[in-house]
Amino acid sequence: MSDESLLSRSVADVAADIASGRLSREAALDASMQAFAARNAGPAGLNAVLYTDADGARDALASMSFDASNAAGVHSASATGAMPLAGIPVAIKDNIATLSMPTSCGSKILHGYVSPFEATVIARLRAAGAVIPMKTNMDEFAMGSSTENSAYGVTKHPLDHTRVPGGSSGGSAAVVAAGVTRIALGSETGGSVRQPAAFCGIVGVKPTYGRVSRHGLVAFASSLDQVGVFGQTVDDAALGLQVIAGADALDSTSVDVPVSDYRAARNSEGAQPLAGVVIGRPVEYFPDSLDSRMRTLLDRSADHLRALGAEIRDVSLPHTSLAIPVYYIVAPAEASSNLARFDGVRYGLRVEGDGLRGMYEATRSQGFGPEVTRRILLGTYVLSAGYYDAYYKRAMAVRQLIAADFAKVFASGVHVLLTPTTPTTAFVAGSKKDPYEMYMSDIFTATANLAGVPAMSQPIGRIDGLPVGGQLLASHFDEAMMFRVAYSLERALGAEAHT
């Protein structure tokens, strides 16, 4: 079997073959490293990967123990078998702590920093049989929507190198879209998994706040941050989330709610697999200004869902337009506090200055890029005396109204919401000069982070050859329902999802 065909097979199938010995344990890793060599580096490369550790991944594979029960686990109902990701390479965003590669958050201030511990999500991936051969490029400290803010260069869109892959997890999205790995981890604060997934034509999932441990995820905005999963297909992403979901004693914001079987609906055939499911279409996500071609693709998806038995219902989330102003107060405020730790004392870059304070200021001003500097100042300003009530406190109140919108709609009997993931397809690199114009890229995604609800993007078609993402949102901890709809939509769209 050629390596190329290996990368075209589902993660579950390849893991089953590796666990049972039908494929060599290095087969998937070898295929990924070959694809990486062909796609990442040089002038024609994507610059999606910052660090690699193929040797460490090979050593990990050599020491793994697979047996028949491992293989059975892959196809068990819950996919929580011993090694559901046996031999599967997973690319990791550069803000998730790993032992064998640096964790630099796309920033100069953490250049060369290697964490002395690893994130819980990494430990869970390893325990499931996965290997970690690469860390991916990102907007510095996850602040951006294009992966243009990395200290280590811009990541290119796999289908059009003049365009951005989205961000901030643009490197992870690009490697999955380019076929280097089938699964990657990213992080979400305002849409940093879903938006690049939409731009790159793959699946991206942001779980419920508290569903996945954040231990080892470098903090940006702690009330919003969540680890997310990219997959080439719904099943790849569901399997990835299945492995990393669940409470963790090392993260007190993780919630001890049982983890459902996200893959339960993967084989649900039949004429009406969505009978009884109510899908809401929030009118605020379909403004008059929305590209008519994008609206047409969303309509096509809704028609498919209706044909599968779902009821499509127009609903309203009236505070949607306030999400970006709220987000860009709350997130920078939390970031200004979280990023205070990068001061040249304990790790990373140190630039000498006049005394201790001079060292702090020299280190931080030379270590942080322009967008991070801007957000730290914005966050410090909205928290400062005289402005706290007018900005931060008010934004927190409006955040409650946004969350209440979702609660009301889900309480009315709606199971899942269908919206566009982004207002546009992937834009040209360098085309968004105004910071607020860039922030508006998150207009349809930041709401889920503010409300803490799960959401995902999946490909639903193309405009001028560029992928369009359809977003599904569900109520807290109801990822299983979200995946049920996503599996059905993916199957119904078939090749239409990528044409």
Binding site: S115, P116, G210, L356, M396
Partner: protein
């Protein structure tokens, strides 16, 4: 609530960020441009919102025991500078004369 150069310098000092004059000038325009879009929040009726409502499901209590995760590398490996098990920092010159007996630091 327009942001002035003085405001930018003030918050930069709070945030321990050294800025050049061109950066200050540029940031005044950028921050005002961003905050202009936040003004819409002043018009929202927030009477129905409770700051005490739980968006994030609250925080769980955990056993009061030491972190069970041992560091895989010594602190010396990732600190910019250490001596005798302590992180080294420059002399604190802002608290008086540099040669004051009260000063801390590596001197």
């Amino acid at each position: 609530m327009a942001v002035s150069e003085e405001d930018v310098r003030h918050v930069a000092a709070l945030a321990r960020l050294g800025l050049s004059q061109p950066q200050v000038t540029s940031l005044v325009g950028e921050l005002n441009g961003i905050l202009e879009h936040m003004e819409v929040l002043q018009q929202v009726d927030i009477a129905a919102a409770s700051l005490h409502r739980d968006v994030t499901h609250g925080l769980r209590m955990r056993e009061d025991v030491p972190n069970p995760i041992a560091l895989h590398r010594a602190r010396e490996d990732f600190a910019p500078s250490m001596r005798d098990g302590f992180f080294l920092v420059p002399r604190v010159s802002t608290h008086g004369a540099a040669d004051s007996a009260d000063d801390e630091g590596e001197g």
